[in-house]
């Protein structure tokens, strides 16, 4: 196992410099090892998929980066500098935005308010709606998912449109890293296609995206690199172009030899 980890870390030498990285992160819940000495690196301008079976540690891992879970030990670095992520606010302050499956949107409010939630541009405490509208149109216009109207309550939007609002918010905040938890779950075929397209657009804009997904097909259609988790450990990180779906599934289930997958 140790030989393998050395081998796939060569990928990091290739990559210029990690934007966001985890070093020897562990998180235990009683006897359950949710994460065990996990190293992970996200480079600038890449889409990085995290895959694994239920309970493999994918969710805990992104929660650590999102500030929703505090690791027991380990270090997080952003742009080479060690950072502390104690709560969602810390994470957001470092330009990391997490789009959770149950999105943090206010259903009763319109799209515009949700795009700027908690960060409305103001003059002396008064909200500058015109500036909000201009910025919103600029950012949403670049995404392939169209929102019917900025004054539409979010409750009336489809799953994909809601994701677009959440992503739009991240873009408006100037986030550099967007973490998406199962973005294509519970979406129809057409909406899924559009969400995948939006992820592609984020990469084109120079952002880095971490995607947790169960769907191998989606993972292979968008990811640059794939990190496989099993039993709270990082089993491997592979380049999409250098592997196959069968090999990755093998890694997830533990039937594939790591050397063959890479």
């Amino acid at each position: 196992m140790s030989a393998v980890i050395k081998k796939d870390f060569m990928l990091d030498e290739e990559a210029v410099k990690p934007l966001l990285s985890l070093h020897q992160i562990s998180k235990h819940y009683g006897h359950v090892r949710a994460l065990e000495n996990v190293d992970f690196s996200l480079t600038f301008n890449e889409v990085h998929a995290i895959v694994g079976d239920n309970g493999a540690g994918k969710s805990t891992m992104i929660k650590v980066m999102a500030g929703a879970v505090l690791p027991d030990v380990g270090e997080i670095k952003f742009d080479g500098q060690p950072i502390q992520i104690r709560n969602p606010q810390d994470s957001s302050n470092h330009g990391i935005t997490t789009v959770f499956q149950h999105l943090a949107l206010v259903d009763t409010r319109d799209v515009l308010s949700n795009l700027f939630l908690g960060r409305e541009p103001t003059n002396w405490g008064w909200v500058d709606r015109q500036k909000m509208r201009d910025d919103a149109n600029r950012v949403l216009g670049e995404l392939s998912i169209k929102i019917p109207s900025l004054s539409e309550p979010v409750a009336n939007l489809s799953g994909g449109q809601r994701q677009a609002v959440a992503i739009g918010r991240a873009l408006l905040q100037g986030s550099k890293v967007i973490i998406m938890d199962e973005p294509t779950a519970a979406l129809g075929v057409e909406e899924t296609r559009k969400v995948l397209l939006v992820i592609e657009q984020l990469r084109e804009k120079g952002l880095s995206v971490i995607v947790v997904s169960h769907n191998m097909h989606h993972v292979f259609s968008m990811a640059d690199r794939i990190t496989v988790m099993r039993g709270g450990r990082r089993i491997a990180t592979v380049k999409r172009r250098e592997t196959t779906g069968d090999a990755v599934v093998g890694l997830i289930t533990g039937t594939e030899l790591i050397d063959r997958a890479i």
Binding site: H102, A104, D107, L117, T122, V127, P153, N156, L157, G159
Partner: protein, 339 residues
């Protein structure tokens, strides 16, 4: 809650991916019309009925009277609306009114009219601050905190007055609530209108207003987005408390005395106006304009029933029925109840 929303969305998404968008955009508009127009129409019907039954009703003097009688309920309903929009509610306003009335009466007697009234508003704001702190910082349920505060304030009011009205207040004190007119309008009405304009603008245009709606709509999302939920929560109870004390001063001024029992049942009437006005029961949705329509409806109902010699018991029954009907509307109207 969000689970529900997600399920609905996924069902919709798979059911009618293409056609869903235009339908969805029509929906809120339709409900907006039903709500505000619905209350407005009921108002017109009520006015028509009372005018037919009692010629005295359709009279300039009577309408001025209604506008003055509605001033205090309007202030109370605005405070309650702010609290409910942020997902809380304030049952203590009746107690705050009683205590303020008693304290203001003694203060007016000892330090003068204007300082006395200032003390009253500060008192109401301070009680609201305690409510807010207990609810926001110590996470106590608003129901328990404000109900306890209602009893506490009412009790204090009776203790300091010995249960009797405080009389012999100076004549100038009656100016605000009863004898004062500006441009033919009662001063109490003007105060209520000015405060309405202020809070309407604050709720729709200010950062504070945005935060109130966001917290009421989805508290955890608001917190995740970095909104200081505890601070806003505390502020809304301070607003509710200060408006209750202003209402109390106007009423005390109208009756030229300090009344420890003032504001008995005010909490129900204010909640009634807010619900009739179309504010979502769990908060996050509704307008202050609708709430004012609710206040007008209740004021005209009370005035009309009086004029056609219906007993006040009938009014209680009518208010109860209207609240129940209106809250049915509020539940149906909710954004998650897709048909």
């Amino acid at each position: 809650m969000s689970l529900d929303a997600n399920r609905n969305n996924s069902v919709q998404a798979t059911k009618n991916n293409q056609t869903q968008t235009p339908e969805a955009s029509k929906k809120p508009l339709r409900f907006f019309i039903t709500q505000e127009i619905g209350v407005g129409a009921s108002l017109c019907v009520l006015i028509g009925i009372f005018s037919l039954l009692q010629p005295l009703f359709w009279d300039r003097g009577n309408f001025l009277n209604i506008s003055r009688q509605a001033a205090e309920p309007a202030l109370l309903a605005m405070g309650q609306a702010v609290a409910m929009l942020a997902g809380g509610f304030d049952l203590s306003i009746g107690g705050i009114m009683g205590l303020t009335s008693a304290v203001v009466a003694y203060a007016v007697l000892s330090v003068g009219v204007i300082p006395g009234m200032v003390i009253g508003v500060l008192l109401g704001t301070f009680i609201g601050f305690i409510n807010g702190t207990l609810i926001a910082r110590y996470r106590l349920p608003p129901f328990i905190v404000t109900l306890g505060m209602l009893s506490l304030c009412r009790g204090l009011a009776y203790i300091i007055t010995g249960g009797l009205p405080v009389l012999n207040l100076p004549e100038e004190f009656s100016y605000l609530g009863s004898t004062g007119y500006v441009g033919g309008l009662p001063i109490a009405t003007i105060i209520a209108v000015v405060i309405f304009c202020i809070f309407y603008t604050v709720l729709t245009r200010s950062k504070f207003g945005y935060d109130v709606y966001s917290i009421g709509g989805n508290e955890s999302a608001a917190r995740l987005a970095g909104i200081n939920v505890a601070r806003i929560r505390t502020l809304i109870y301070m607003i509710s408390g200060s408006l209750a004390s202003i209402a109390s001063i106007l009423l005390s001024s109208r009756v030229s005395s300090g009344q420890p029992s003032l504001g008995d049942g005010a909490e129900l009437l204010s909640v009634a106006a807010v619900i009739i006005g179309g504010v979502r029961l769990r908060g996050g949705q509704g307008s202050l304009f609708g709430v004012m329509l609710g206040v007008a409806l209740l004021a005209i109902l009370a005035n009309g029933l009086n004029l056609i010699n219906m007993s006040s018991y009938v009014q209680l029954v009518a208010v109860g029925l209207i609240v129940m009907v209106a809250s049915v509307g509020s539940v149906i109207r909710g954004p998650r109840s897709e048909e």
